[in-house]
């Protein structure tokens, strides 16, 4: 699946997007964030406080307990500050 990052999540991870294949044991958005946080220093920094990170699956807002199976694109970003 494709992951995309925005704002300070993008800056901390150090890239705007990437393709990943998480292990089968990772089934929800919250578990994906936990798994990503263990991928290295940049990821640990980006995901050290998952409660402040919002997620979208295929361009729709989702909650942390949402299943990721079948997702083509998952986005992680800080709370929005548009308008």
């Amino acid at each position: 699946m494709k992951l995309v990052y925005f704002a300070w999540v993008r800056e901390r991870v150090g890239k705007a997007e990437e393709e990943i294949v998480p292990p089968a044991s990772v089934t929800t958005v919250a578990e994906l964030m936990r798994w990503l946080g263990q991928r290295g220093e940049e990821y640990a920094h980006a995901f050290d406080n998952p409660r402040v990170i919002r997620a979208a699956i295929d361009k729709s807002h989702v909650r942390p307990d949402t299943a990721i199976s079948g997702a083509r694109e998952i986005a992680f970003f800080p709370p929005m500050t548009g308008g």
């Binding site: 995309v4 925005f6 704002a7 300070w8 979208a56 361009k59 729709s60 807002h61 986005a75 970003f77 800080p78 709370p79 929005m80 500050t81 548009g82 308008g83």
Partner: protein
């Protein structure tokens, strides 16, 4: 309902957009035009610019979804939403919401609703640029509270 949604880096002309929405029609009795403008100072400290990042595809979809919700709640004739991205200097426009209806109540309420949702649910992120460096703007609890006030139990619409 006539709907125009645009994301763009260039500035816009709020008066021209409102005129385009109402031109040639006689069923519109009220137009509310809200323009959000980049301030030259934040918390008493001057800023050089704002830079807005957005999630292409999702930003348009989220705005369209909320325009549909507004249309379901109030009798609207037309809505225009324009949101800029990229670097915006103080004094320049950031966002435009134009709502048109037969009567003012619907136009005022729908414009307010759309702005509250744009601030908290549309995937845009502001970075403020100062002489001392750049920083991401933090989401405000007051904006969340403003969006929350539109979530009401069913059956209370008539009170608006």
């Amino acid at each position: 309902m006539a709907v125009t949604i645009r994301l763009q880096s260039e500035n816009f002309d709020a008066a021209a957009e409102a005129a385009a929405l109402t031109g040639g029609r006689t069923d519109i009795g009220a137009v509310v035009t809200f323009t959000g403008i980049c301030r030259g100072a934040e918390d008493g400290e001057p800023i050089r610019a704002l830079t807005l990042e957005h999630y292409p595809g999702m930003a348009e979809a989220e705005i369209a979804r909320h325009v549909e919700q507004a249309n379901a709640r109030w009798p609207l004739i037309g809505v225009t939403v324009i949101h800029r991205h990229g670097r915006i200097a103080p004094g320049e426009n950031i966002v435009l919401v134009v709502t048109a209806s037969s009567h003012r109540e619907a136009a005022f309420a729908a414009a307010s609703f759309l702005m509250d949702y744009l601030k908290t649910r549309a995937p845009f992120w502001k970075q403020v640029e100062r002489a001392s460096g750049s920083a991401w703007v933090e989401a405000k609890a007051a904006d969340d509270a403003a969006a929350e006030r539109w979530v009401k139990p069913a059956g209370r619409e008539a009170a608006e």
